[in-house]
Symmetry: C2
Amino acid sequence: MNNFTYDISTVVHFGKGQIEKLGAEVAKRSGRVLMVYGGGSVKRNGVYDGAAAQLKAHGVAWVELSGVEPNPRINTVREGVRLCREEKLDGVLALGGGSVIDCAKGIAAGALYDGDPWDFPAGKAAPEQALPIFTVLTMAATGSEMDSIAVISNMDSHEKEAFSAPCCLPAVSILDPAYTCSLPASQTAAGTADIMSHTLENYFSPIETNYLADNMAEAILRACVHYGPKAIDTPDDYEARANLMWCASWAINGFLSMGKPVGWSVHRMEHELSAFYDVTHGVGLAILTPNWMRYVLSEQTEARFARYGEAVWDLDRSLPQREKAEAAIQKTRDFFSALGLPATLTEVGIDGTHFAEMARKARTANFDRTFVPLSTEDILEIYKMSL
Amino acid sequence: MNNFTYDISTVVHFGKGQIEKLGAEVAKRSGRVLMVYGGGSVKRNGVYDGAAAQLKAHGVAWVELSGVEPNPRINTVREGVRLCREEKLDGVLALGGGSVIDCAKGIAAGALYDGDPWDFPAGKAAPEQALPIFTVLTMAATGSEMDSIAVISNMDSHEKEAFSAPCCLPAVSILDPAYTCSLPASQTAAGTADIMSHTLENYFSPIETNYLADNMAEAILRACVHYGPKAIDTPDDYEARANLMWCASWAINGFLSMGKPVGWSVHRMEHELSAFYDVTHGVGLAILTPNWMRYVLSEQTEARFARYGEAVWDLDRSLPQREKAEAAIQKTRDFFSALGLPATLTEVGIDGTHFAEMARKARTANFDRTFVPLSTEDILEIYKMSL
C-alpha cells in the first residue's frame, strides 16, 4: 500500500429533514453568505424555502446568485466572486447538484484570490484559501458535496477543466435523499452512471494493495446495480435514494484512491465531449466507459476485469478468465442501456468532426499513472469506437 | 436507512516513515504536550526516538507519563491530569496502542474538567472539551486512533467502563504499519480478533438498510481472515500489517454503524471479564463471540448468519440456511483457534465464581438496541457456555 493522508473533515448530516441543522452550522462559521443555485427546481422541491428559513432563524444574511448552468461556466464563477467582494460575504451556500457545488467552490476560492478564477482550472494557480462552503445536495452523482474537486467550463475556448484543493472541501453538507425522489429517470440514470464511473476510475489502478478500497469500490458498484433501477422504477423509494446518495459521496471522496495511483482516463476523455458539445457528464461517461474497457482489455488486464465480473456482476467463477472479462464489459454496457442511457455518441448528436482536437486536448492531462497508459492515437480510437 | 451525522475529522498520515509529519502537526495546535506511553516497547521500536526528534525539531516541549497499563487505570488518568495542570500543558501525545490512546483521551478531557475524570466512564458527566490529542499507533486493534471512545478500568471496584465524546476524537494520528512488524504472534492474534469483534458488533444489527456499511463490514472481516494469518506467519509482511491497520481504524470509527442501531453485546460482556480478571480484551472477545453467536442463533436470526457465512467464509450458497449459519459460527471459532487464541475461559484461568455478579453488572448497560436483546440470565448462560 502506498503512503497516503486521510483528511475528510466535511460534516455530513444525512437523512430526512436534516436541513434543520443547516442554520446552526452556517452561523458557527459565517454571518453573510452567497446562496448559489441553478434553475427553479430548488424552489419547487422545498430546498430553497427550507434553507432560507434556516438562515433567517439563525440570523445569517444572504445574497443570491441563481442560474448556474449544468457544466458550470467560468463567467458565473466570476459573477459570484464579484458579489462576494461587493457584498462583503464570508461564506458560500450551494443548493443543488454537482454543478452548483462546483461553481460554489470556484467562487469561494476566487473570492480570496487576487487573479482571475480561471487560473485554477487552467492550472496557473492553486487555491490556498477559500470562504467556508456549505451544501444542500439535490442529486446523487458527482460527490462534490464531500470532495475538494471542482470542474468548470469555458465555452468560448471549448475547455472543461478540474481543479482540487483542500480548502475547497465543503465544511458542512446536508444530504437528504428525499430531495432526490422527484428527479426524472434520465437524471437518476445519468447520476448512477456518474457514480459508477468514479468508482471504476479508482478501481482500475496499476496496483492493487488496498484491500478495503478495492472491496468498497466493488460494494459501491453492486449498490448502483441494485438500487439504480429501483430508483428509476419507483422514484420515491427512499432506501434506494439513500443508498445511491451515500454511494455517490464515497465514490470520489478519496477513500477509494488512498494508497494507490489513480488515473481518471475516461473522465479526461469525457471532459472534451462536454467542452465541445455540452452533453450531460453521466451520459458521456456511460457511452465512453465500456469502449475504454474494450480498448484496454489485454492479457495483462483481463484478470482485473474478470475479478470485476465476479464481484459486481456475479459471473460464474468457473468461466475462462478472458470470457469472464469480456462478459463483465458487456454487462456494464447492457446495464447502462437498461437504465435508458444512450450507447453511442451518434445518438447524442456527436460526430467525428472534432475528434482529433479533442483527443489532443485530452492527452494534455497526465496519462502516466492510469491503469493502461494511453496515447493521443489511443484516445482517438476510443472516440471512434464510441460513434 | 436511519438518519446520522458523519464527522470524522482526524487527519491520518498512513504509511512508512509518516512520523516525519508529526512535529508540524503538533506544533500547529500545541506548544507543550504530555507524552504518554506504556512499557519500554516504544523505546525499542524507534517510536519514542522518532517522536522526540519531531517535537524537538518543531520547538514543542513535553513532559512524560510512562507505564500506562493494558486496560488503562483511572489512577493513571488522574496522574496525567495532574501533570497537565501543574505543567500547564496544552496537548496530549499518545505513543502506543489502544490502551495508551484511551488513557490519553481520559487525560485530555480530564485536564479541562473540574471534577474527577472517573465521572466520564461512570456516566456522571460527558466531556465537553479536551486538549488536542495526537497519536502514534503501534498496534492494529482497538481503532482508538480514529474514534472518540475510551475505555478505562477501576480495579478497586472491578469496573471497566467506556465513554465517548466528539472532543476526544484525535486531531492527528500517525499510522505506520512498519511499527507493528515487531509485534509477537499473540498480540497480532488478539488484535485481529478485536478488529473482527468490532466489525461483528456493527454487522449484527436489528436493521439492514445501509448497503455500504454492511458490505464494508464484510470486507473488513474478509481482510482479517486473509491478512491475520499472514501477519502471524510472516511478521514483517508490510502489506498484511498495512491492511490490518487500516481495517482496525474503519472497524470502529463510526462508518459501520451509520444509519442503523448497534448494540455492542459482546463488548459489554467482555468488559466484565477484564474488570474482574484483567484478561487481554481481544482474547476475551475471541472466547465469547462464537458462544454469543450460538446463543442468539434462531429462526429469526439465521438468515443474517447465513449471509455472513457466504460473504466472509465463502460457504456454498446452496447449503440450507440453518446449516450455513451454523457452519459460519463454527468457522469463526476455528479461525480464532487457528490464530492461537484460547477457546474457553477455563484456559485463561477464569471459573464461574463471579459469573452472577458479572452478568448483573453487564446487564446495567442498554441491551435494547442489540441484535437480540439479552437478559441477565441470557448473559449468565453465555458465560457458562464459555467455560
